[in-house]
Subunit: 235 residues, 2 copies
């Protein structure tokens, strides 16, 4: 039985089920484990001695929240993260996660300081858009994505590379081309078109939901929050 | 600068500060990371191939919540945990964490099935009492603790061995004598009298709070949620 790749609709449905009365998870819990998995993925590929300065790019939605959690854990792991928030989220949890980063003395920059922050970074964590993204990209995100690509820095994308159609991939070519992808819960359809190093995170999917949605998740090793998937064959 | 050992009062104060407007953490977040650290500690000492059946004993307070989170992660790690709840907690989060265990098909037993569950376990995770415990122990906990001791099974205690005075240790001798202790946030005064393998978990204390309370926390290795402390010298 092979690992299931999710449509945007099924991904949304699983998220809702996890946080329903039956699933009983809070957003805080899921975001904490998802963000930890993102931080662990970056650390697994880009060692802090060689890539200490991580630019964590956070969108305004839940994906950005994962990014803020990841930034905090990267700070705990000994990296020097900088958070870039082109447009802050409005949810209370987003604000709390931002304060938690502030308390780790992690710097947050907005659009004005972005160029500078980008040129003094070693690696990018892309937590801009998640599985609810629908194109086309609007300002300021179009120019942010374009600058991230032009920087030539290694990029780790969360769940789906920003700018990609969740199911069709980088259809109009304006999305990121990350080196590493960390899928959360289960990979999305579009990730079939990703050929870099691919990790799976979100070691919180209970047996009941994994069975109901026939996810066929792989075994995670030891006490890790991530598992590396075999690379996709190019067709 | 040596690691600070906390009085019950200071431990309480740090907890409140973490969840204050300034600290901005939710109980869900802290419990998730604390429980993960407990599960990682047990896994670091008692391998799942040799000690698959973990009896996770959960008190009615926040410590029991850590235990429920740990049970779920132990299930994820491939152990066969059984949750023992002598007296369920009344908080909403406690009920949600219980459902999350149910969804992992983790069995929960109450007092009636305790003896049976104990005799078919390989190792105990003691999450009965935490740093807000004040003796003497009341039923049914006195008999539970006594049976756990008599079982002769290896015991991993969370934060402070159950039945110990948080600052004075196992003063009247009715507390547990665990093999392993996982202190959360920072060790409590009573842990100075513990001579087994001692781990620290709770890799969430922000720089601001670590500095304010002069915790002098050790460096955690890699992406781990726990760090082993040097053994306490017997005086």
């Amino acid at each position: 039985m092979s690992l299931r790749y999710l449509t945007a609709r099924i991904a949304q449905q699983i998220d809702e089920e996890l946080m329903s009365t039956a699933g009983a998870f809070s957003l805080d819990q899921l975001m904490e484990l998802a963000g930890l998995a993102c931080a662990q993925t970056l650390a697994a590929v880009y060692h802090k001695d060689k890539y200490p300065r991580v630019l964590v790019c956070c969108g305004p939605g839940n994906q950005g929240g994962d990014g803020l959690v990841a930034a905090r854990h990267l700070g705990m792991f000994g990296y020097k993260p900088t958070v870039f928030v082109p447009k802050p989220g409005s949810k209370d949890i987003y604000k709390r996660l931002q304060i938690q980063c502030d308390n780790m003395r992690i710097r947050t920059v907005d659009g004005a300081a972005f160029d500078n922050a980008l040129s003094s970074s070693d690696v990018i964590l892309d937590a801009i858009f998640g599985f609810s993204f629908k194109g086309p990209m609007r300002p300021p995100f179009d120019s942010v994505i374009s600058k991230l690509t032009k920087s030539g820095l290694p990029i780790v994308s969360v769940d789906i590379p920003s700018g990609w159609d969740v199911e069709q991939g980088n259809v109009d070519g304006t999305g990121l081309n990350p080196d590493v992808l960390v899928s959360l819960t289960a990979p999305k359809e579009g990730a079939r078109l990703f050929h870099g190093r691919h990790f799976l995170g979100g070691r919180f999917v209970p047996t009941t939901i994994a069975e109901k949605f026939e996810l066929n998740l792989p075994l995670y090793p030891g006490v890790e929050q991530i598992v590396e998937l075999p690379p996709q064959q190019k067709l």
